[in-house]
Symmetry: D2
Subunit: 431 residues, 4 copies
C-alpha cells in the first residue's frame, strides 16, 4: 500500500481493527448458531456478544509467543469474555475465521470498487454527451484515418467499463462465500447449520465444499478481473496522454492554480495523472499471476497463499480504488479542445476522405484494384508535397472520367461520418 495512492475507506477495510472486528462477528454468529443447536449454552453466546472485545496491541503481544494469530485473538477475547469463552470457536479451524474474513473484506472491497465504477461511468457518460458531436480525426497506428467524434471515444470507454462492472459483479460473486466447516472441511466437529447461519448474517453464500480453506481459484478469478479493469484504465489513460501531446493537444488534464509542471521548465503542463494511472495499472495487474500461483495449495491446504494475500489483498484493491477515483476526476475535469481537433483533422489536406473516394470510384464502376491505384497515387502526392487532395482528384483525368466534380465534392462531407453517432449512443447508453 502506497499512502499517496490510497483512499481512507478502502484502506480502513484492511486495517487490523476491521479484520478483528470481522473475526469477532464470525465467532459470535457461530456461537449463536451453536447455541441454537444446543451445542453450547445460550448464555455463552450471549456473553460473547455482551462482553466480547479485543485489543490489537494485546493480540500482537500474545501472538509473539504463540506464533499463531487466531489463537492470540481467541486468548485475548477470553480475557474480556471470561470463562464462557471456552465455547467460542468450538469445532472450527483457524481458516474458517481467516478465509471467511478475507472474503468479507474482498466483497466489501468489491462494493467500493463497484461504486467507483458507477462514478466513472457517470463521468464518462456526461463527457460523451457533452462532446457527442465534436468531430475529431480517428487514428489507427497513430496515423489519421477517418473522422470520429470525441463523444464516441467516451462512449467506447463507457461500454468498456460497463463490461468491467459486470465482470466485477461476477468476480464478487465468486469470492462471496463463507466456510465454517472445521479442520479439513468435513463438518466432523461442527454442524453445517453453523456455516449457513454465519454466511447469511454476513451476506455470503456457504462454500459448497471446502478443504481446510476456501478454494483459491475463486480469488485467482477475482484478482485477474481487477487486472483486466486496470488494463482498461491504462487504455483511457494512454488515450488522454496521446491527446495531450504538444503537437496534438485535443484534450488536457485540468491544471490547477499553483501546480508546477517542472522544476526546470515553468511552461510545462504534463499529463501526470494519466501517466500515473498507467503505472498504477501495472501495479494492479501484477497481482494476477501470484493469485493464480496460489491456487495449487498442497492437499487440504498449505499456507503459502497467506503472505501473498497479505500483500495483494490490500494493495490491488486500494490501488485500483484510487486509480478509478483518479480516472473519474480526470474525466470530469478534462479540458477538451474541439478547435484543435478540427485543425488537426485538416492537416492532411483531405486525405482522411480517401476511402470514400475509393468507394465512390468502385460504385462508379472502376475495379477495386484500379480505384485503389488512383486514390493512392493522388494521396501520395498530398503526403509528400502537402497539396490539397480534392484539387488533385479534380485534376486527375482517370478520376474525373468516373466522378463529376460535384460528386467529388460530396465525398468530402463531414456529416457523412457522424450519421451513426446516434445509433452508437443508443447501443451504448440504451437511450
Amino acid at each position: 500500500m502506497i499512502p499517496r495512492y490510497s483512499r481512507p475507506e478502502m484502506t480502513a477495510l484492511w486495517e487490523p481493527e476491521s479484520k478483528f472486528r470481522i473475526w469477532f462477528e464470525i465467532e459470535a454468529h457461530a456461537c449463536d448458531a451453536q447455541a441454537e443447536l444446543g451445542v453450547i449454552p445460550k448464555e455463552a453466546a450471549k456473553a460473547v456478544w455482551d462482553r466480547g472485545n479485543f485489543e490489537i496491541d494485546r493480540i500482537d503481544e500474545i501472538e509473539r509467543e504463540t506464533k499463531h494469530d487466531v489463537i492470540a485473538f481467541l486468548t485475548n477475547l477470553q480475557e474480556y469474555v471470561g470463562d464462557e469463552a471456552r465455547f467460542v470457536h468450538q469445532g472450527m479451524t483457524s481458516s474458517d475465521v481467516l478465509d471467511t474474513c478475507l472474503n468479507v473484506q474482498l466483497t466489501k472491497a468489491a462494493d467500493i470498487l463497484l461504486k467507483d465504477m458507477d462514478d466513472l461511468l457517470a463521468a464518462l457518460k456526461k463527457k460523451a454527451y457533452d462532446h457527442k458531436d465534436d468531430v475529431c480525426v480517428g487514428r489507427s497506428h497513430g496515423i489519421h484515418a477517418e473522422p470520429v467524434t470525441f463523444g464516441l471515444k467516451m462512449a467506447q470507454a463507457y461500454a468498456e467499463f460497463a463490461r468491467n462492472r459486470e465482470r466485477l459483479v461476477n468476480a464478487r460473486k465468486d469470492i462471496a462465500t463463507c466456510a465454517i466447516s472445521g479442520a479439513v472441511g468435513t463438518f466432523a466437529n461442527i454442524d453445517p447449520y453453523v456455516e449457513e447461519h454465519v454466511a447469511k448474517k454476513l451476506g455470503l453464500e456457504p462454500e459448497p465444499i471446502s478443504t481446510q480453506v476456501i478454494p483459491r481459484d475463486r480469488h485467482a478469478m477475482f484478482f485477474a478481473t481487477l487486472g483486466v479493469i486496470a488494463s482498461s484504465i491504462e487504455r483511457i489513460a494512454v488515450e488522454i496522454r496521446h491527446l495531450q501531446r504538444t503537437e496534438v493537444l485535443e484534450a488536457e488534464e485540468y491544471f490547477s492554480k499553483g501546480q508546477k509542471g517542472s522544476s526546470a521548465m515553468p511552461h510545462k503542463r504534463n499529463p501526470v495523472l494519466t501517466e500515473n494511472l498507467t503505472g498504477l495499472a501495472r501495479l494492479v495487474r501484477m497481482a494476477t499471476i501470484p493469485a493464480m500461483e496460489n491456487v495449487a495449495l498442497w492437499h487440504e491446504r498449505d499456507i503459502s497463499h497467506s503472505s501473498v494475500e497479505r500483500g495483494i489483498g490490500p494493495d490491488a484493491t486500494i490501488t485500483l480504488d484510487f486509480a478509478l477515483a483518479r480516472l473519474t476526476s480526470v474525466i470530469e475535469k478534462l479540458v477538451v479542445y474541439p478547435d484543435n481537433m478540427l485543425n488537426n483533422m485538416n492537416k492532411l489536406g483531405g486525405l482522411i476522405h480517401s476511402q470514400r473516394v475509393l468507394l465512390a470510384l468502385t460504385q462508379a464502376g472502376v475495379s477495386r484494384e484500379d480505384a485503389y491505384r488512383l486514390v493512392q497515387r493522388n494521396a501520395m502526392v498530398v503526403w509528400r508535397e502537402g497539396a490539397d487532395f480534392m484539387e488533385l482528384l479534380k485534376n486527375d483525368e482517370e478520376v474525373t472520367n468516373a466522378l463529376s466534380h460535384e460528386k467529388i465534392e460530396g465525398v468530402f462531407d463531414l456529416e457523412y461520418h457522424t450519421k451513426h453517432v446516434d445509433t452508437l449512443f443508443k447501443r451504448v447508453f440504451g437511450e
Copy 2:
C-alpha cells in the same frame, strides 16, 4: 504450439485453411446483407458464394508483395470470383474481417474447451462416487490433520471445475462479438445492418461500439480465464503427484505395459503426466499478462496486439485443450490404493483424533487452555516416541478425571469424520 501437446480438432481451428474459410464466410455474408440493402447487386453476392474460393499458397505469394494479408486474400478471391468481386469488402476495414474471425475462432475454441471440461467433470464425478467412502487422512501443511475421503477430494475438484466451466461460459460470451463497422467503427461507409446480419449468421452478437477493432478487454478476460482454469489443473496435478510419492502412494497414474520410467532405474513409475500438466499450466497462464498488455491500444487501434494473438491465440487454447484431455485421462485411469490410505492414516498412532479429544475435554468442562495443554503434552510424546495416543490418554490422570475410558475410545471412531460426506456430495452434485 508444441506438436506433442496438441490435439487435432483444436489445432485445425488455427490453421490457415480455417482462418481463410471464416474470412470467406464473413465477406460472403456481408455481401448478402449489402445486396439486401441494395448497396451491391444481388448477382454479385451470389457470385461470391458460387465461385468464391481461395488458395493458401497464392495468398502467401500476393502477401509477399502487398505486405497486407486481407488485401492478399481479397485479390486471390477476385481471381476466382472475377469482376463482381469488386463489390466484396465494400465499406469494410481489414479489422472487421480479422477481429470477427478471431472471435469466431475463440468461441469455437471455447466450445471445444467446454466439451473437454464436461468430460473432465464426468471423470471426476465417477471417481468421486467410486471412492466416496474410502477414508484417507486429510493433510494441512503436508502434515496429517483429520480424516477425509478420497471421494471428497474428487468432489472438491469437481466443484472447482464446475466453477471454471461457468467462468468459461462467461468468457466465451465476452468474445462472442462481431464487428463490421468500417474504418474507425463509425458505420460511415457501411450500414449497421450488415454487422447484425453477419453476427447472426456466425452465432455472434454485434459489438455495440468498436473503434477500428473489437476492444481487447474482452480478449484479456478470456485469456485470464484460461489462466485460472490452468491453475486449477495444476492444483489437481500437484495433488496426484503428492499422492504418488514413494512414501505415500495412495494413488498412482496408470502405467502402461511397455512404458519405461527411467533409462537408468527400471523400477521407477513416475507421475510424469501430472508433472507435465504442472508445466502446461504455466504455459497457459503466461498468456494472461500479454493479453492484458494488449488492451491499451493507441487511439482507434494499433496493431501491436496482432503478433501477441498469433502466439497466444493458438498456443493457450491448444495447450489447455490438451491439458484438460490429459487430466481427464489421468483421472479416469487413476489407480487408487485405499489400503495404503488407511496404513498412512494410522502411522501417527491416533494423533489425528487430537482435536476430538480437545473438544471432548472442553465439553466435559475443562478450560480451552487446559485442554489444549493436556492434548499437546500427550501428542508430543506420540510424536517423539511413536507411542499410541489412546493409551497415553487413558494413563493421563488429568485426562481421565474428565473423560472415562469409554468416552476416550468413542472419540477414536472414524465414522465420526465421514458423517457429512452425503451432505457434501449433495451440495456438489445436487443429488
Copy 3:
C-alpha cells in the same frame, strides 16, 4: 513458434534433427571418455562414431511404445551401431543428455542473438552519426521540453543495447554448463572425468553440482535477460511509433513499393513494423515468469520444467532473434525528416527556452521563486494565445529590469543545447 516471426538459422536449432545430432554427440563423446577410462572397450566408442546414426520417424515410433524419448533414441541408435551400443549411455541418466543438449541449444541461440545485437548496434551507431547534429525537440510527458538531437536518441539506444549485450554474455555463461553426473548427480555410476571431457568437447563448463538436472535458476536468469532485451526493443519501437504519428512525422519506417497500408484507406503509411515489435516484446517477456516457476523442482528433480521449456525455449529465442533482426532493418532504413523536427520544435513560440530564461534571471540576482513566477506568467500567455515568448519577455518590465534585450536574445540560441553532443558520443562510442 510463429512461422512469420521466425528466421531459419534459429528455427533449425530447435528442430528434432539438431536435437538428436547433439544427443548423439553427447553420447559419443561420453563413450570416448569411458573408453579412455577403460570402462568400455575402445572399439565400442569407435563403433558409435563410425556407425552411429538415427532416424527421426523411427525414434518417434519407438517412443510411442516406450513413452520415453531418450530410451527411444538409444534403441534406434543401437539399430545402427549393433551390439556394441550396449556400452552407450553407461552410468548416465536421461537428464544428462537432455539438459546438456538444452544448454548447447541455448548457448548456440545466445550466439545468434549476440550476432543480432552486433548488427543492431552497428545500425544504431551509423544512424547516430548520420544524425548527430539534427536538432529535434526533447519531450518529457509527451510535452516539448528542450532541444536534443536525433543522433542522441540513437546513441541512447546504442548504450542501452550495449548493456543488453553484456547482460546476454552473462546469461550465456549462466547456461553454458554440462552435466554428466548420473541418476541423482552423485557420479556413483560414472566418473567425473566423463563430464569434463564432454563439456570440453561441447564448449561448456562442467556443472559443479547437479541433482539429476542442471539447476533451473540458470535458465530463469537466461529467460529473464531475454525479457529485459525485449523491453528495450519495445522502447525503441514505441519511440519510432511516436515519431511517425501524423502530427509529428519526424521519422518514418521505410515504406516499400507495392506495400499497402490499409485495405480501406490508400493514403496510409503505418508504423506496422514497430507496432509488431511492440507485440513481439510482450511475447518474449512472457517467458520470464514460467522460467522462474520452473526453478522450484521437487527434490532431485521433477519434469514439470520440460513442457515449459519445449515451449519457451524455441519461442522466446526465435521471436527475439526475429525481433532484433526486424529492429535492425527498421533502423537501417528509417526515413528521418530533420525539417519536420525543426518545424515541430518551433511550434511553441520559443517556450522550450523557458528554463534558460529562468537560469539567466536567477544568475542576474532574481530569487528562484520570483524567476519561476516571471517565466511561468509569460509562458502561460504563449501557451494560451500562441504568442512569441521572446517578444513577451522583452515587454515584461520585471524581466527587463534583470536582463537586457541582448541577453534575452542570447538565451534563445540553439547551439547552447548541443554543445555536449560530442561529450555524450565520446561516452557512448568511446571515440
Copy 4:
C-alpha cells in the same frame, strides 16, 4: 510493504527521512561542484551544508499546493538556507535528484541483500558439512531414485545461492549510476563535471547517456534478478516442506516452546516458515513484469514508472531481505533426522540399487535391453508385493547366469553412492 515481513534496516532505507537525506546530499554535492566551476558562489555551497535541513511535514504541506515533490523539497530547503538557496538545483531537473536517489537506495538495498546472502551461504555451508555423509534417498518425480546425502542437498543450495550472489553483484552494478544531466540529458545547463563529482561522492558511476531519466532497462534487470533469487528461495523452501511431510519427516523446521501449530489440532508441527517463504517468493517475483513494462517510457521520459517504483522498490527489496533472513534462520535451526532418512531409503526393499544391477548385468555381457527387462521384472515384484529385491535377484536364474551371489551383494553397497561426495564438496566449496 507488509510490516510482519519486513526488517528495520531495509525498511528505514525507504522511509521519507532517508529519501530526503539523499536528496539533500545530491543537491549539496552538486553545489560544491558548481562552486568549484565558478558557476555559483563558494559561500552558497557552504551555506547549504551549514544550514541545509528539511522537515517532512512541511514538505508535504508545500507539495499539497505545488503538486511537485522536488519543488516542495527545495522550497523547504530554502526556508532553512535562506537567500543563498537560489543557487541550489541550478541547471538540474527533478529527475536528476529522483533517479540518482533511487539508485542510491537500490545500491544500499543490494548491499543489505548481499549481506543477507552471505549469512545464508554460511548457514548452508555449515549444514552441508554437518550432514555431509548423512545418506538419504534421492528422489526424482517424488519417487525414490538412488542415494545422495543431506550434505549434498545443502551444497547444491549453496552453489545456487553463490550464483545468485554473483548475479546480484552484476545487478547492483547495473543500477549504481548517477545522472545530473539537466532537463533532457544534454548537459545544456550544467557541466558534466557536476555529475562526475556527485557520482564519486555517492559511490556511483556517471550514467553515460541519460534522457531526462536514467534508462529503466537497468532497473528491469535489477528486479528480474531479485525474481530469480526469490525463485531459488522457493526451491529450498519447497524441499524442506517435502522433507517435513508426515510420511517423510527427514527434516523439520525448529518448533519453539509456546508455539502452536493449529488452533484445532494440538499435535501439529507445520512447516509454516517455508510455506511462508513460498508465498513471499511469489510476491518478490511479481515485481519483474512491471519493472520490464517500465522500460518503454515515451520519448525522453514519462512518469509512468514512478508509481510502479514507489510500490516495487520498497516491496520487493524489503520482502526479499526478510525472506533471505528467514531462510537463513530456518537453515540454521533446521532439525535433521538421519535415522528417518535411512528408514525411508530402505522402504523399497533395495529397489534403489536397480540401476547398479542393470550396469553389472551389462558389464557381465548381457545386452542392455535384456538387462533392463531382467531388472524391471524383479523390480515390479518388489513394487507390487513388497519383496526383497536382492533375494529375488538371487533366485532369478537369468540373473545368476550372469552375476554370482557375491557380485549381487556387492551391488547393494551404500558407499558406492557417496564416493564422490568429496569431489562435489571440493567443486562447491573449493576446499
